[in-house]
Symmetry: C2
Subunit: 340 residues, 2 copies
Amino acid sequence: MTQKAPEPKKRANLRDVAKAAGVSVATVSRVLNEPGVVKKDTLEKVQTAIARLKFVPSAAARAINSGRTRFVGALVPTLDNAIFARFLAALERTLSQHDLSLVVATTDSDLEIEAEKAKSLVDIGAEGLIITGAAHSAALHDLIERTMLPTIITSFYDTENPLPTIGYDNAGAAQLALQHLIDLGHQRISVVHGPTHDNDRTRARLSGLRALPMASELTTFETDFSHQGGADAARQICALPQKPDAILCLSDVVALGVLFGLQAEGVSVPGDVSLVGIDDLPSSAVAVPPITTVHLPVTQMGERSAVALADWIAEQKKPGPERLEARLVERQSAIRRNTG
Amino acid sequence: MTQKAPEPKKRANLRDVAKAAGVSVATVSRVLNEPGVVKKDTLEKVQTAIARLKFVPSAAARAINSGRTRFVGALVPTLDNAIFARFLAALERTLSQHDLSLVVATTDSDLEIEAEKAKSLVDIGAEGLIITGAAHSAALHDLIERTMLPTIITSFYDTENPLPTIGYDNAGAAQLALQHLIDLGHQRISVVHGPTHDNDRTRARLSGLRALPMASELTTFETDFSHQGGADAARQICALPQKPDAILCLSDVVALGVLFGLQAEGVSVPGDVSLVGIDDLPSSAVAVPPITTVHLPVTQMGERSAVALADWIAEQKKPGPERLEARLVERQSAIRRNTG
DNA sequence: CTCGCTAATGTAACTAGTTACAGAGGTTGC
DNA sequence: GCAACCTCTGTAACTAGTTACATTAGCGAG
């Protein structure tokens, strides 16, 4: 008549299984890790016990022995921009081929938050780190140095950095875009970009622009890193006494926003004004008109970073920097303008 | 003349620190966890030793005692859609307030991959799971049952599900959009949606549509879950002998693609055809024309899921389902059509 | 001067696995 | 018939922390 006693809530561990199966802990461990060496009926006994007790091995206990947690962390400014989403997708896919999971943390482009999040990634046991850009807080540099955590810098290429950088030349990418507009005969060019605070990629792109002779003719607009931000900037530009004949956006999200903003103001692209972006998001190819942009190889960057980090972790050997090529993708949003 | 001996590569552990500082392991542990109870100069001795040896406590060893790993996993179809990115951003932000990190894994809308990824999340020690939709493979259900892992279903509301669902009524959201078009006097309506395979949210939206009297008049187009997919569908629709007077897209990504596709074909929205989406992505508000859509409260969904999961983990008490309201956001892409 | 109390620290047993080594039992070789 | 060897399993010591309990030191009161 007595009901089965309510099983103790506690999760079964390896010793419980061993007892239930009438074998030693070593045997259970073997069933888990090298079932080949265990005699068939012992194997079955143990597996039955595992199933009956709903035994699930503890990740922590396993990690304490192997010294491995099997995951790495990535710090990105935001998920709310397809460029990072695409990068992370490739990163995650490739890491997973190396039997590593990915923990994502967002920094909101704030170096203090970045350092905090990095700390908590280390606290939960990340075996490596992927960070965005080369500028970071002292706290983060200190953390990386103290823990000697394999860490790769992405979205940035710099041979001088003590940490390996895997990315593209931001200054060069911006120059590619500007040079294209210059080649098309544009003279009055407005530049629209996202916040420069705590963002060395944007700063690098701007400084690339300044290195070109055209630089003095440039008017720049800083706005939000969003479609809305781009649309707002477009409205500002339309209110100018003398409209530019081309707009260069330092990211495609902003470029699409600018395109919408111009359309809303009745300004035709590329008829009235040419538009060029940077990133090459999928939406840029589909927009009307399709947006001319500089393709950044973020998928490749995700793949290369994953491989480099996985190797670094596996072989304790720091990889070198890798430069990935940005290239201009000509579409229909920028056309030749006759000078004079 | 002898150089300092190359320090042993091995990471210092708590016992090494104790030895170096001339105290016991318990004291070092106290310095780490309750520095208040340690005498000041002991504290300093230990902290010096920690700094000198670059000691970083092992997450695994800590986890083995506390039974806590401080992170949960989320399984989403893709990062490459702003709707999930926004959800995850809110989820991550809120989890982080509860001292939990987030491990993201993408499933590519494949239930087999989903189950594999879930397995590896459990293997690395996730304390809880966030999954998308209610349809899952037997392997995943089995895993959740065996591990008794706190697991929350999102993007879906269903009081019957044994797991707590935190989400919206997909059928109702689709009906909201369709009813709006009906109310505006539209009669020939095309529906464009992403793949239904392994995607119960899209299936639920379609079945919601079928429950409305208008259903028999609907033509549906299945396409890729992307801007490009939407543009392709638009081209198909334009090639129809009789064009619809409204297009209903079951997601905003596709809706924007359709808008681009129609523009490219010279079809005016809303002049020639009305357009309605579902999701309410930021781009929909900025597009020209701004797209009428059904707002899905994904940010709130991320926050609520995080809180519910954190509580579940902390108090071992399964939360109930939560229904979040979808609501129509009228913008300019759908206008009244005179009947007859 | 010793008792009693508190504050600070130490000892050793835990957590849940892995693994080196030992040992039992059976088979084969000479 | 016994050594040698192989297969399989068990014992116990590891991993790196936390923590219950024991111990010591220091100080004031009686």
